[in-house]
Symmetry: C2
Subunit: 153 residues, 2 copies
Amino acid sequence: MLYAQDYETGALHDLGSHKVTADEITAFGRTYDPQPYHVDEAAGRASAFGGLIASGWNTAAIWMRLYVTTLLPDAAAEGTVEGSPGVDEVRFLEPVRPGDVLSGTCEIIASLPSLSAPDFRIIRNRGRLVNAAGTEVLTLILNARFRSRPKHS
Amino acid sequence: MLYAQDYETGALHDLGSHKVTADEITAFGRTYDPQPYHVDEAAGRASAFGGLIASGWNTAAIWMRLYVTTLLPDAAAEGTVEGSPGVDEVRFLEPVRPGDVLSGTCEIIASLPSLSAPDFRIIRNRGRLVNAAGTEVLTLILNARFRSRPKHS
């Protein structure tokens, strides 16, 4: 089991990659962000983007899936009913298109005591997705609450 | 057609409401945030939350749907290939559970010139979702790019 103290500031974790499809883009778009260029290829072609592009929320959620499936399975990342510490500075830097292969990383940028829960620490994670050309398409900061290593273990 | 100048700082827009279901929570969770309490009712009961709760990304995406379907249909909100100005300070304040009816608002908190695109302005929107008990479950700041009203119209 990994505790807050196991996430060292400066560590960079590889989260693997994910291939985006037109079906994923339009399914997410229809459900959560029905702007024309997220739901319809022809509307995308007529827009400044020249084609279908993923909702920024879809791209952020793709990073989250890579983070959860790669980094969290062995971690003491526990939700608490006081609410989650949230997400900052989500930036959608380049359009994400069907066929793009996005590779994710997570860099630990800070480890702070939790003010509301003394047994926990807040780990600030810098998330990034880059496409196959190496261009950054997304950055964000995820604040996650991890349990501190028990003193007697 | 509504231009950037039509979104006045301080204006508060009602975005309507959305009822969350267990199916929506688990569908989103399986696809984008497979932590146990987002995908499985029994795992949720065994967690600090005492039941299934929505991924914070799901809750944020619900706000986005209300914003897009209510406020954007007549607006000159155009994507540009320079990238989107992004989202700040996403806070998940209370768990969202099956059956919750979430009501959204959007408050215009700033209108700034776009540094990269002189014909556009950046509108900073404070988004909020409250449940039927009136408790805030989500706040965020969405930065959106709107075209300025043409000078000769």
